[in-house]
């Protein structure tokens, strides 16, 4: 009979009128994210060996890494993520052999200015600043090259 579907629809919306509401009062109440949630990055500096795998894994060249050789080891001096270009695909986290780079559950990464969006995870001087002035630009260039020619060196 014509009109049955109309009444059925009215019945459904009437039921929903008094049914359960699904809204979460967001800023006051937050849903807990799942453990795997791709939120803000976290870098465990002590675990990081500055190998550059994450830099190579990134499809969008988001990660900028600067490192210096201190003694025999590479020392991470700067680790900046250009979050505005980040796809949050998780390839960098996956590539990390040392479990140093991780996702957290933090979702608030918004800023008032675009330039503040950049996420600086590490910014520190090398412990022994004994390098000679000529070495510095060469190293910077090296680090840049590592960031730039990413894909060829993957592995």
């Amino acid at each position: 009979m014509f009109g049955q579907g109309l009444l059925k629809g009215l019945e459904i919306t009437w039921g929903r009128l008094f049914g359960k509401k699904h809204t979460v009062n967001y800023p006051y109440k937050r849903i807990e994210m799942f453990p795997r949630f791709h939120g803000r990055f976290q870098l465990d500096v002590d675990k990081c060996i500055a190998c550059g795998l994450c830099v190579n894994a990134c499809p969008n060249k988001v990660i900028e890494m600067e490192r210096e050789k201190v003694g025999k080891k590479q020392f991470l001096t700067k680790y900046v993520m250009r979050i505005e270009y980040c796809l949050f695909c998780g390839l960098c986290v996956e590539s990390c052999n040392r479990d140093a780079l991780r996702f957290t559950n933090v979702i608030d990464m918004n800023q008032y200015r675009r330039k503040w969006v950049r996420l600086t995870l590490v910014d520190r001087p090398a412990p022994e600043a004994e390098e000679t002035p000529e070495e510095a630009p060469a190293k910077a260039a090296k680090a840049e090259a590592a960031a730039g020619k990413a894909p060829d060196k993957e592995g």
């Binding site: 109309l6 629809g9 009215l10 459904i12 919306t13 009437w14 929903r16 009128l17 008094f18 049914g19 359960k20 509401k21 699904h22 809204t23 009062n25």
Partner: protein, 351 residues
């Protein structure tokens, strides 16, 4: 209790003014101005409340909670809306017909305000007790077609134009079943005075005496107020916002908030008066003031309007016209015929 507060207030005001030595003619004029101001305030307040109610009901039907941050349970939300809209710039697009463009949102609120002057809100609560009240009301409300058309034509926008054309087609063709449906009631009561129409429903409301007429009236009323499922005029998924597309700020608020809800109130108030017994109390619950009953019934009809709006999809323009002319008009004519036959038979029996 409270039954006569408005009537008593009017009488007190009249006494106060004449006590000051004002001649009767000016007294009447002052009182009329007070009444009309009260109606305007009433419409504005109700429209604000209806914005809130619409949003809340929409949200509840959609499993949301709706506005709730401003004021207690979001009651101040419409105030914030109005403030926001008032502070917005009124954008004038290129090549608009400036006079018509700016005049349309102002004039759009006139018909409902005028219509309210003859509506009986409660026992003896009517601004002007006109003996052709119904006729006046129908004549005045049909004017809003022109305002929509003005807005659509003056906007210099094809979407507005299409919306304007649709509004004329729709409102003109649904005016007919709306009036014809009310004709059944008029035939029974034999009067066009709205207060007398209400009084004639003392024994039985006309929704029971004229169920088909009520249904036709309701459907045509939804179409008259341009609300879904007959919101082809706005039809936001097709023609953006129809005639309102180019309006911003308060111009938009006049169309979308004030005019729509004021029209809806007129249609539902009329529905209450014609079919739901107006201010008459059901089940002999007369201890509740008559005007409270009127508003309760009016808001019940408005709620059904909103309920229907948030359930049904939109009808297409040719289907709309077909439905209006091929279903509603013949049905309302048949209803008049049946009413007339019934009345003749009743009279023959000698009731």
């Amino acid at each position: 209790m409270g039954e006569n507060i408005f009537v008593d207030f009017t009488a007190w005001l009249r006494g106060l003014i004449s006590g000051l030595g004002v001649p009767d003619l000016f007294n009447d004029i002052i009182l009329m101005i007070v009444k009309l101001a009260a109606i305007i305030v009433f419409i504005a307040l109700n429209a604000t409340w209806l914005v809130y109610m619409e949003r809340k009901i929409c949200a509840y039907i959609q499993s949301r909670v709706g506005p709730r941050h401003h004021g207690p349970v979001g009651l101040l939300q419409p105030v914030f809306d109005v403030v926001k809209l008032m502070t917005k710039e009124i954008v004038l697009p290129k090549n608009v017909d400036l006079v018509v463009f700016l005049l349309a949102p102002v004039l759009i609120v006139v018909p409902p305000i005028v219509a309210y002057s003859v509506l009986p809100f409660g026992k003896d609560m009517v601004a002007i007790d006109m003996n052709i009240g119904l006729f006046f009301l129908v004549a005045v409300t049909s004017l809003s077609t022109i305002m929509f058309w003005m807005a659509g034509w003056a906007s210099n926008n094809k979407y507005s134009l299409v919306g304007g054309m649709r509004v004329v087609a729709q409102m003109v063709s649904y005016e007919l079943p709306l009036v014809l449906a009310m004709l059944g009631v008029v035939m029974i009561t034999g009067t066009l005075n709205l207060s007398e129409v209400v009084n004639a429903q003392k024994n039985v409301w006309f929704i029971f005496a004229q169920p088909i007429a009520f249904l036709i009236y309701f459907i045509a009323g939804v179409a008259e107020t341009n609300r879904p499922p007959f919101d082809l005029v706005e039809g936001e998924s097709e023609i953006i916002a129809g005639p309102y597309t180019e309006y911003a700020g308060m111009g938009f608020a006049m169309f979308y908030g004030l005019a729509e809800f004021a029209n809806m109130m007129v249609i539902s108030a009329m529905c209450t008066v014609m079919f739901l017994g107006g201010w008459l109390a059901p089940f002999g619950l007369t201890f509740i003031p008559s005007w409270v009953w009127f508003f309760l019934k009016m808001y019940l009809v408005i709620f059904i309007f909103m309920w229907v709006r948030w359930t049904f999809p939109r009808i297409r323009v040719d289907q709309l016209m077909g439905f209006g002319w091929k279903v509603l008009v013949p049905l309302s004519l048949a209803n008049i015929f049946i009413t007339g036959t019934g009345m003749y038979i009743y009279r023959a029996i000698g009731w």
